[in-house]
């Protein structure tokens, strides 16, 4: 039994503690230490990439399993494992965090040690959520991720940060308490004195542990509540714009980049696996909510004057696609959904970085305050054009690959059907509308005296964007290795849910 | 041989008087005395039952109650003195700074 996963999960927290308690670390040094530490974590997570021998893409089951009894009385194990579904999200987390820390170099200068510590602690939380296979352990990590984010927004946020962060915390927390209820219910109903998800699934599959239909649906809804708020699915999204507008740039990037994906991941890992029948039952309804989210998010984004709010609503729209992909309940849809979660992390993360850069220069997020950036900051505008295009879903970039696969999945899924794909595609048009509208208002136009003397992108900012853009283009042109790594797990999962592709 | 019910009834009566004393009077000391009275009524009931069941435990308990009551009075009065020093009053209603 190797310890790679535990190393990956707990290393960041160790770094956080060091940063907090080690004596005599100046702000300047704290940033460097945090950066190096997060790079070490990223290096530790690299062996997970298929081809390094640790992760075998041809096996669908959980791999690199680490299981140690923890709380004997309730049968709670410290149980970590990874499979095709969570692989890329883990790598996205370890890949994004160094970039996020890099972005704090010139944007955060008050209480830097605490900021970096919270960021690393957050990383531990997120990795824990992605790797935990024990329901109890999962819940602990799930709630733990809220705490650092609460402080990140609460302390370093904008003017209305208190309202935003309290709303964020309470909204997510209230929903996840329902999930805790469901977890306990499962534990009691199963009666095998264990919270282990794989064992529970085996018991279900072999018929030892059967849930009657209505109860399964209620439990599905309990899990649904927690994850829908996190994703956010349409009616539960009202915390996101506030959280994003008030969060510091680094906070926004990590929030959009990874935190939102935990909801989507949760749906796949728990809702689909534990309650296949309920998933089939609720798929059309959730599909409708997703489609509304796509169009609604895009539509509102168009009317925003605050850039960050615009990008926040665009996240609501993009994640509507992910939900559509998940609840297509077929291999293609799931492939698309998982890849789109990674893509969204990259594109929207980069978009927030870009927005952060002009915020650092002008200290305002109002779109009308900008104009003519293309002339003043050509390199910056070229990079942001690429990022905007990836968010719009232009082919040859990563957004398109994810969205197209989801559309194929949704179109041919017996539970959704062509209407969902059609309305989903409307979202693609609207995405072009509001993003290009923003691009025109900010980048094109004539140079105002305020934007005349803005300096172009610095080397530091370049090092932040280049890795993201490299991946955006790579996934756009050659996504096959990403798909192949999750192929087995996703197909196994889709078959377990029931009839996959509609009869041709 | 006076039946125990009478004693218990008497004890209840005394207890109720004590309670009304606590509720109605506003002088802290009188309230305090009413509390003592309630304790006493409880003791009476205890001893009554001790005789009834022919068991000494009731009386032992009463004994302990008395000692505790003594301790309580000591501390209580010290508190009252403390309050009087700062508030210049022993009227219970004037001391209502702990308003919600």
């Amino acid at each position: 039994m190797n310890f790679l996963l535990s190393v990956i999960v707990w290393l960041p927290l160790l770094g956080a503690l060091i940063l907090l308690f080690a004596p005599g670390i100046s702000d300047h040094a704290a940033k460097r230490v945090a950066l190096i530490w997060s790079l070490v974590v990223f290096a530790a997570s690299l062996p997970l990439i298929p081809g390094f021998g640790f992760f075998d893409p041809s096996r669908a089951q959980l791999q690199l399993i680490e299981r140690v009894p923890w709380i004997g009385a309730f049968g709670v194990d410290y149980h970590l494992a990874v499979d095709g579904i969570s692989l890329w999200l883990v790598l996205l987390t370890t890949f994004l965090t160094p970039i996020v820390i890099l972005s704090t170099f010139d944007s955060v200068n008050t209480r830097v040690r605490a900021f970096e510590a919270f960021m690393l602690a957050l990383q531990t939380g997120m990795l824990g959520v992605l790797l935990a296979q024990d329901l109890f352990l999962f819940y602990i990590f799930w709630e733990f991720t809220l705490v650092p984010m609460y402080f990140l927004i609460g302390i370093w946020g904008g003017s209305r940060r208190i309202y935003a962060t309290v709303k964020f915390f309470l909204y997510t927390f209230a929903a996840s308490v329902l999930m805790l209820l469901a977890i306990i219910a499962l534990y009691v109903l199963w009666g095998a004195n264990s919270f282990s998800l794989p064992d529970m699934l085996n018991a279900m599959r072999t018929g030892q542990f059967t849930l009657d239909q209505n109860l399964a649906r209620w439990l599905f809804l309990a899990f649904f509540a927690a994850f829908a708020v996190k994703v956010p699915l349409w009616p539960f999204h009202s915390w996101l714009p506030d959280a994003h507008t008030e969060a510091p740039t680094a906070g926004s990037v990590i929030l959009a980049g990874v935190l939102l994906k935990l909801g989507g991941y949760g749906f796949i890992r728990f809702n689909l696996q534990l309650f296949p029948e309920a998933s089939r039952f609720f798929a059309p309804a959730i599909g409708v909510l997703a489609v509304i989210g796509i169009i609604y998010g895009a539509w509102i984004a168009y009317a925003q004057t605050d850039i960050k709010k615009l990008v926040a609503y665009s996240s609501v729209s993009h994640l509507g696609f992910v939900m559509l992909g998940i609840f297509a309940l077929n291999p293609i849809g799931l492939h698309g959904a998982i890849l789109q979660m990674v893509n969204h992390g990259l594109s929207t993360g980069a978009l927030f970085l870009v927005v952060g850069m002009i915020y650092e220069r002008r200290h305002t997020r109002d779109i009308n305050a900008f104009g003519g950036l293309w002339k003043v900051m050509p390199v910056y505008t070229f990079l942001s054009l690429l990022i905007v295009m990836s968010s719009i879903g232009l082919p040859a970039l990563n957004g398109f690959v994810g969205e197209a696969t989801i559309m194929f999945g949704a179109f041919s899924s017996p539970f959704l059907g062509w209407e969902f794909a059609a309305f989903g595609l409307l979202g693609v048009i609207l995405a072009a509308v509001y993003l290009l509208w923003m691009f025109r208002r900010v980048m094109m136009g004539d140079v105002t005296e305020a934007t005349a003397k803005l300096r172009d992108i610095t080397r530091l900012e370049l090092t932040m964007l280049v890795p993201l853009i490299a991946l955006i283009i790579l996934i756009g042109l050659y996504p096959a290795p990403f798909f192949r790594a999750m192929n087995e797990s996703v197909t196994a999962l889709a078959n377990s849910i029931g009839p996959t592709l509609a009869a041709r | 041989m006076v039946p125990t019910e009478y004693y218990v009834m008497l004890s209840a009566l005394l207890f109720t008087i004590g309670v009304t004393g606590v509720l109605t009077r506003r002088n802290a000391l009188v309230v305090f005395m009413s509390v003592e009275l309630m304790l006493n009524s409880a003791n009476l009931a205890l001893v009554a039952f001790s005789r009834r069941w022919n068991h000494v435990d009731g009386q032992i308990l009463t004994f302990f109650v008395i000692t505790v009551a003594a301790a309580e009075v000591a501390v209580g009065l010290a508190l009252l003195v403390g309050i009087f020093r700062t508030r210049r009053t022993t009227n219970v209603d004037e001391v209502n700074t702990m308003r919600g």
Partner: protein, 647 residues
């Protein structure tokens, strides 16, 4: 020989890409960037030509098997999409047009963009555009075609918005991209349906099995419709978006805000024709649905006629050509709809050449007249710009369909197929409308020539001069081209017809070549010449002031007003779509989201707050009230136990 072909095809696309990358990262100077870009395009043309020759060398039936896959693009379980190219006769011809005309336009641009603010960026976009268009034409599956499809949309967005200082350029670029996107919505839906029906998107899989679609029905809100019709109709939406047909055509005239050579390449020769290419490429599906094919014909004809009528009322030199392009595209779409696929491709090729010539000519005029675009301020430029004048005249003759020029042969073939009839039957009404439109074309082109070149120079505030050699040489080449290109499908030999046969054999859609009818030819030429003569009389030798009223207003009155305002299409779209969209957006963001959804959340929070305030009343601070509560509790408990146990 087979392997050589396999290596050449990717090279065609890679060369412009390399040119773009070099310019993007290494080059700062405009002229040098122009040279590199043109070199890349010419190289691509040369490679394309050799590939064309090699393909011609292959035996007849092997010409559609040249299919090379570079790598597996999407590999998501059942969804397998290769990144592969197909070099068959149809795409070969398209490649030649794109790279050939493209190269000439690149060379022309060197001169034209000499004093532009950001020439390097312009050449990067131009090269990227050629690469994207080549991907579109060479793709061997629909998803890769879609990649090229949106790629050219992006490049047109960038090129239109090149000089973004100007307000109309900024708005036009976004309008173009969004309207293309609406078309792409339809195409994507068709692609999704194709995948669901065939499990793959490769042409090699879909077209041979296209027959399976017959009889398959889907029922939806408008009742049961054939799957083939649904797919074809969705494709048609894509075509109207990209080839600027009704209803999605208003973006093309505004796209004239971009640099003129860019308009020549994109909005005349290549991008807008990709819609026609799509129909011809997917003929196996369109054949199955006479209903959708007929709709295509009617859309094409209607667009042709309306656009021609609008062109008559325009004063901007480029706008006239823009509407002329929309009209000629209408011809091609009608031909493709009728099933006369070879005629459509033939007209596409000839139009590509002479419309590029006209646009470059217009570019040369604007260049010479110091960026004046309003024809009312021109006049008498033939003396100042002889070369431009004569080449422009050749282009006009070709467009009007005068005898020896290319336009005559291709337009005549379309009109001929309308009367002679194809697999779906004859279209007499369509034929007559097309002939009238041809006459209108002759009219507005002669109007333009006489307004620009004949008569006296009305606005003398500028001194017009001829463009230098680097711009006029491409004009002469294109002028020669607009004569020679007509011969490739000259009746009797029908080279193009035979060349494209293998492409249509797959779905056995090969019709026998159209017999040439003299009567029809004479009628069309006579009408064209007549219309030209009328235009000459009305416009050529009148002495107007700079801001004259077009004489036609007297004859046509309100109609002319309608033509001039593009039949008020823009205002209708603005009122029907754009304004409601903005209104709803602001409603949602200002009222619904904050009050509605957020309201619920904050409402819940406020409720809890109120509850809390309610309880505070109980904390009175009086010790005695607390003891009272104690007592109540005691009484309640005693009471309960006292009485409950009894019952």
């Amino acid at each position: 020989m087979e392997e050589l072909l396999f290596t050449l095809i990717p090279a065609i696309i890679v060369l412009p890409l390399i040119g773009a990358l070099i310019n993007m990262f290494a080059i700062r100077d405009g002229r040098r960037a122009g040279l590199i870009a043109s070199a890349a395009c010419v190289a691509s043309f040369v490679v394309g030509l050799t590939a064309f020759i090699l393909l011609a060398g292959l035996p007849h039936e092997e010409r559609t098997h040249v299919d090379v896959t570079l790598w597996q693009w999407i590999d998501a379980g059942p969804l397998q999409v290769p990144f592969g190219f197909l070099f068959d006769p149809l795409s070969a011809v398209m490649v030649l047009l794109i790279t050939g005309v493209g190269s000439l336009i690149h060379v022309f641009s060197i001169g034209y963009m000499a004093h532009d603010a950001r020439p390097v960026r312009y050449f990067v976009y131009l090269n990227l555009f050629v690469a994207a268009m080549l991907i579109l034409v060479l793709a061997n599956n629909y998803l890769l075609l879609f990649l090229g499809w949106e790629g050219v949309g992006l490049c047109s967005y960038l090129l239109i918005g090149h000089s973004f200082e100007r307000k109309e350029a900024r708005y036009a670029s976004m309008k173009a991209f969004v309207m293309n996107r609406i078309g792409d919505f339809g195409l994507m839906l068709a692609i999704l349906a194709l995948f669901q029906r065939f499990g793959s998107l490769n042409y090699g899989v879909i077209f041979p099995r296209a027959g399976e679609l017959v009889g398959q029905q889907i029922d939806w809100v408008l009742g049961p419709t054939a799957v083939a019709s649904a797919i074809a109709f969705c494709m048609l939406i894509g075509v109207t978006g990209k080839s600027a047909q009704i209803p999605l055509w208003t973006w093309l005239p505004d796209a004239m805000a971009g640099p003129t050579p860019a308009s020549a390449l994109i909005h005349a020769a290549t991008m807008v024709t990709s819609g026609v290419y799509l129909i011809v490429r997917s003929h196996a599906i369109f054949i199955l649905t006479p209903s959708v094919s007929n709709t295509t014909v009617y859309i094409g004809v209607a667009t042709a006629f309306i656009a021609a009528s609008i062109a008559i009322g325009q004063y901007d030199i480029k706008r006239v050509l823009a509407f002329s392009t929309v009209s000629q595209l209408g011809f091609m779409v009608a031909a493709a709809g009728m099933g006369a696929y070879t005629a459509a491709i033939f007209h596409l090729l000839t139009h590509g050449v002479f419309k590029a010539l006209l646009f470059l000519g217009a570019g040369s005029v604007i260049h010479g007249a110091h960026d004046v675009q309003d024809m009312r301020r021109m006049g008498g430029l033939r003396t100042a710009m002889p070369a431009t004048f004569w080449t422009y005249l050749a282009g006009t003759a070709a467009l009007a369909g005068i005898f020896p020029m290319a336009g005559f042969w291709s337009k005549d073939e379309i009109v001929g197929s309308a009367f002679h009839g194809t697999r779906f039957g004859t279209y007499p009404v369509v034929g007559t409308i097309l002939i009238i439109t041809a006459a209108l074309t002759a009219f507005y082109m002669t109007r333009q020539v006489s307004l620009v070149f004949l008569g006296r120079q009305r606005d003398t505030s500028y001194h017009a001069h001829e463009s230098e050699g680097i711009m006029t040489i491409p004009l002469w080449i294109l002028a020669a081209g607009s004569l020679i290109v007509g011969l490739i499908n000259i009746p009797g030999f029908y080279f193009l017809e035979h060349w494209l046969e293998p492409v249509f054999e797959v779905a056995h859609a090969v019709g026998e070549p159209l017999p040439f009818s003299f009567t029809l030819a004479i009628i069309t030429v006579a009408l064209a010449l007549g219309a030209a003569f009328i235009a000459y009389q009305v416009y050529a030798n009148r002495q107007w002031k700079k801001t004259f009223r077009d004489p036609l207003t007297r004859y046509l009155g309100v109609f002319f007003e309608g033509f001039e305002h593009r039949w008020y299409a823009d205002d209708v779209y603005e009122a029907m779509f754009v304004r409601p969209f903005k209104a709803t957006a602001s409603f949602l963001s200002r009222i619904f989201d904050p009050m509605g959804i957020d309201g619920l959340v904050n409402g819940a929070a406020r409720l809890v707050g109120l509850g809390g305030r309610g309880y505070r009343v109980l904390q009175t601070g009086y010790i005695r009230s607390y003891t009272l509560v104690f007592l109540m509790g005691v009484v309640a408990v005693l009471g309960y136990f006292g009485f409950a146990t009894v019952r």
